[in-house]
Amino acid sequence: MSVEKFYLILSLFLFLLGFFGILIRKNLITILVSTELMLNGINLAFVSIDKMLGGTDGQVFALFILTVAAAEVAVGLGIIVSIFRLRGYEGSSETVHLRD
């Protein structure tokens, strides 16, 4: 087993752990952090496959994922702050009515 395959399995672990965190956490902020964990796992998979093949395309894709993560955090935290301001709570199982 080479180092790149080991890192590929590690990225799989990170992705599944982020998915698991989205399922089990109650707080909306920690759910958003779990999403970041999933994106980090995808980044690690891209870079390790890139090292395996010897190109640079995967690193460019990882850069785009970094951009999307920044945009997602800006919009997601804005939504969390506005949910909190309009309703006064932020539990994930209470946020089922999206309109009022």
Partner: protein, 163 residues
């Protein structure tokens, strides 16, 4: 020597990722996520992706984590404390799913055949990535800038106070 560094970095990454999922206090979760980011930057440096390691430090560790901390200071703390914790039933039913899918997919990674190496790399990582980014991927690069602009405007619209 390579495997020693790999083992240390991956142990650090796994421990801090587990802390990110299972810690109760949201501030502790964000600090554990910062530790995940630092370990990832070390892994990128080991795999000779220097540009991505630097960008990981600049964008994640400086911009995103500081933004999380800022938002936690905006929200009143006793309301945050009400919803910390873990759903026990989802933990009970999700753990076998996690284990089975991890074992299946890591078996597939270990047994699968990968494509042959291209060997187009010249050794200077920043130059290679920049050349690829501004020739083959110029249009997605521009689209990414538009996405960032739209997200910034959307965040301003969502976060402003209603009169």
């Amino acid at each position: 020597m390579e495997w020693v560094i790999t083992a240390l970095l991956s142990l650090w990454l796994v421990l801090s990722a587990l802390c990110t999922i299972f810690m109760k206090n949201p501030v502790h979760v964000i600090l554990a996520f910062l530790s995940v980011i630092l370990a990832m930057a070390g892994i990128f440096l080991q795999m000779k992706a220097e540009l991505l390691a630097g960008l990981q430090l600049i964008i994640y560790a400086v911009a995103i984590v500081v933004f999380y901390v800022l938002v936690i200071t905006v929200i009143p703390w006793e309301k945050v404390k009400r919803f910390e914790g873990i759903y026990k039933q989802e933990l009970f039913w999700g753990a076998p799913f996690f284990l089975i899918s991890f074992l299946l997919m890591s078996y597939m990674v270990l047994k699968g055949k990968f494509a042959q190496p291209l060997n187009v790399i010249s050794g200077d990582n920043v130059r290679d990535v920049g050349k690829n980014l501004f020739t083959s991927y110029l249009f997605p690069f521009e689209v990414a800038s538009v996405i960032l602009l739209v997200a910034m405007i959307g965040a301003i619209l969502l976060g402003r106070k209603e009169e």
